[in-house]
């Protein structure tokens, strides 16, 4: 849908500022009730979800030309969807869709950020979002005894994702994921060097074409591999494969799991047993792309009925994705299953989790804002008394780690995989 198609929704924004907060129904303290990093950092109303709807309407009405400030408004946003979830708690509206359309329009009209363009050019050349060389993609798996789909088919296919593939600090985690799956007796394969990006982060930056291209490519590769199950340890990838491909009409014909879901299943089936104690107080950060953004896409083909004496009705009724069907319990189950680990929740959790700061191209174009957002979350984690913040997304882990290093906090950051690997004696190197 084009930006114009969202005009009706822009005009229904009542400027209530719900998009800036978690729903007031669940607020039980003064602290940690804001949910949008952008408005929290930049303060002008235009930097909120509702404010961006106002700006988009101003652009459609010819009132607002592109400017440096407009680009800041458009791109200083992690596209985390928190505003969307908070708004639709009380309204039949989906602000995030307008935000996507706004970005896509900006890109179409050449209103790009140089930092994003560099990443996208790298993607087009080397098929990854971290400016690595395609030839190096499979190096994380060197020496690992695992099938490669270039040589043989596999029913269970593991997708590492760009960050795990190229960030050497994260290689042990990707390897540990394979080891855990194999330890559970599962026959798994990888694409290795031939693996390519999911296209999800490019879409969030406004590059719709890249998502479609990779959706088609990956769909074909997975089919040729004979894969019936896709397991990824990247939250961005999970959302792309499960939700975004379906959104653009390229739904994959296989079952998609995030590694946390898959490992939780293996534990429940008794195929993995965490036995080693990990005495530590931890809290869990819900990645946006594994949580509120990971609900299955719901296609709706209907009509918005607007009659002067009736409320606005979707015909047929539209089912809204409100964020509560994301992957929340599997990571928590895993943590609860690790002996000696004491798990405490933060205030903003599940569909109302505060974004780590790395999404939507912010890490690439506004690294200071990304770090700022991460530090807000780290402070929240520290307030729980936790010694470590655990997450299930490499982008979250990287951004938290960088923020902690920069700011000198003592709290540690772990990926779920490494905690489970340690507890099950799976190799972690």
């Amino acid at each position: 849908m084009a930006l114009e198609d969202y005009r009706e929704e822009m005009e229904r924004c009542c400027r209530c500022s719900a998009c800036k907060f978690i729903p007031m129904d669940i607020v039980d303290s003064y602290e940690y009730v804001t949910v949008c990093p952008s408005i929290a950092r930049y303060n002008f109303h235009a930097y909120s979800g509702g404010g961006r709807l106002n700006v988009a309407l101003g652009m459609l009405d010819g009132r607002v030309p592109y400017s440096e400030e407009v680009l800041n408004i458009i791109y200083r946003c992690q596209m985390c969807g928190a505003c969307d979830i908070s708004c639709k708690y009380n309204r039949d509206m989906e602000p995030l869709e307008t935000l996507y359309a706004l970005r896509i329009r900006a890109v179409e009209e050449g209103q790009l950020l140089p930092d994003h363009l560099a990443i996208i050019e790298g993607l087009r050349k080397e098929d990854n979002m971290v400016q690595g060389l395609k030839a190096d993609r499979g190096k994380w798996a060197e020496g690992l005894d695992v099938k490669n789909i270039s040589k043989e088919k596999t029913e269970v296919l593991f997708h590492a994702g760009c960050r795990y593939s190229f960030d050497q600090e994260l290689w042990p985690l990707a390897r540990a994921a394979i080891n855990l799956i194999k330890k559970a007796g599962i026959d798994v394969g990888i694409a290795g060097r031939e693996e390519v990006c999911c296209g999800g982060r490019a879409y969030a930056m406004g590059y719709e074409g890249e998502l479609i291209k990779y959706a088609e490519h990956n769909g074909e590769i997975f089919k040729q591999a004979g894969a019936k199950t896709l397991v990824t340890c990247c939250a961005d990838g999970y959302q792309a494969f499960k939700v975004m491909y379906d959104k653009v009409g390229k739904k994959l014909d296989l079952q998609v799991f995030h590694i946390s879901e898959y490992l939780d299943l293996l534990i429940k089936q008794g195929n993995l047993k965490p036995t080693k104690k990990g005495p530590m107080v931890v809290t869990y950060h819900d990645p946006c792309h594994l949580g509120r953004l990971a609900e299955s896409y719901i296609h709706w083909k209907g009509e918005l009925k607007i009659e002067p004496d009736k409320p606005i009705l979707h015909v047929p009724p539209k089912k809204f994705r409100r964020g509560h069907e994301g992957v929340y319990e599997p990571p928590r189950n895993i943590l609860r299953n690790i002996p000696g680990l004491r798990f405490v929740e933060m205030k903003r959790i599940k569909e109302h989790a505060w974004c780590c700061g790395a999404g939507g191209g912010v890490l690439e174009a506004y690294p200071d804002f990304a770090i700022w957002s991460a530090l807000q979350r780290i402070e929240e984690a520290e307030c729980t008394g936790a010694e470590a913040i655990v997450t299930a997304c490499p982008w979250c882990k990287k951004n938290f780690s960088d923020a902690i290093k920069q700011n000198g906090n003592r709290i540690k950051v772990y990926d779920l995989i490494e905690l489970l690997a340690t507890s099950t004696d799976a190799e972690l190197k």
């Binding site: 009542c14 400027r15 309204r91 809204f320």
Partner: protein, 536 residues
Amino acid sequence: MTLEKDIYRVFEDIVGSENISDDPAILDSYSYHFSAVLITRNKWMPRPEAVVLPANPIEVQAVVKACNRWRVRFHAMSTGWGPWNSPIKEGLRVIQIDLRRMNKILDIDEKNMYTVVEPYVTSGQLQAELMKRGLCCNIIGAGATTTALPPPKFTGYGQLGTTHSCDNRNLLAVEWVLPTGEILNLGSLGQDAGWFSGDGPGPSLRGVLRGLMGTMGGNGVFTKGAGKVYHWPGPPVLPKKWFSTSYAPESLPRFFKVWSLYFPSWQKLADFGYKIGESEVGYLVFRCTEYFNFHFLAGSNEEYMEMVKDFTPPDKVPGYAVLIAADTESEFNYKEKVVRQIITETDAKNLPLIEDPEVQTKLMWAWVRDGNMLRPIFRPTGNFNSSFGSLDTIDLAINQGRVGARIKKEYIKRKEIMDDGADVGWGIPYEQGHMMHVETVVMGHVSSEGATGLRHYERAADETFLTPSKEFPVCGGTPLGTFGDIQHNRFGPRTSNYHIWLRKLKEAIDPNDASDGSFYITTSIPNPELKDKGKK
């Protein structure tokens, strides 16, 4: 009109370059309003010249003084979201002061039961903190994202008004940046005696400060304020069921009970208000129809339509939402007994749906936290208007509700406004029934046609105040939307000419006309009636 660069720099020097902008996109996010269409026939109010984000009262004062110096007007806002946050017309040379960065709770005095807050503390946040301490605060009808600071809160009407009064009365000491830039501390603060009193020993200017309707940014800037808070008999934190669109407590707290009552006549409805007020057993009592309750429960417009499709009200006239809450079993038993007695005496009937414990809990929370008012007011069509709503006796308020519903029916028949059943009068008997307001809300679409319908209704409602009738043989007070020169000039002559005094006060307090009185009052439009009589 653009602010001159050197004047822009004056403000930039005060707040810092990150906290000021005159970019069109930023300005548009402040000039967009849901009901601008009622005034300008599109979604946009006039843009401010710039937006500034001061961090503290000293910066606010400096901005205001600069406005006086450089002949720029200012219009302050915090959490507000109506067109009254903007200038009413082009050419007024107004800068927007957004108080967003001033968001701290400064004090919670549990013993003396008041709080001190900055403008951008939300009511929801404050209520949550208070509940941990066995206290509670009023939340105005617009909902829990609105400010907790009493002075700017429009009329200050909220569903807890039976026990929590209304915020035009909850106001204690205030730190007020006058339109001239002086900082005036009112009440006990004026003599450095703390925040506990709005009436002394320092200057008591509560009526002047904000009056009944509030000042809509037209009378300086309120940078801190103390407000009364009240007892909360419930638990400090209510564990919630975590499922959108219904984040409600897991169960009704101990010694809480709710009703949603319907009555055989308007008179019985009024009688109930008096009786429950006299008995002083109600914790929360407000005029509530199934329109509100079903919207609170429904997750979408479609779900709401399903709920009302086959609904038959228990009796002719809706009704009151009633919550009793007690600290002990004996107190609870007593209160319940009294309510049942009053129900019998007024022939009230309970909404059958509310027998469901889950419904009771959801509704109780919707009424107390007021986190769902967006559903009945904005979800249906995106725009609304309101009228009647004078603060007076219960009888008068109920009568206004009755008349409001009757007038609405005509416009529903003409399909100019949304058919919501017509009787959507929302109101509260404040301070155990000593006074009440009932406003009749109307919903219309965001288009200019929808706005036309809303305006037609408002004019018809206003006319009932201006023209004596059987319902209102003398003027029935002033309607809720009495702000701005035109409305003050219309209703003032019929209500002791308050508008003359209001204009004199504006002139005295704001000699340089620096505080944009677009939606408050200005000295620029004289009262034509008085002019004719040769008076100023």
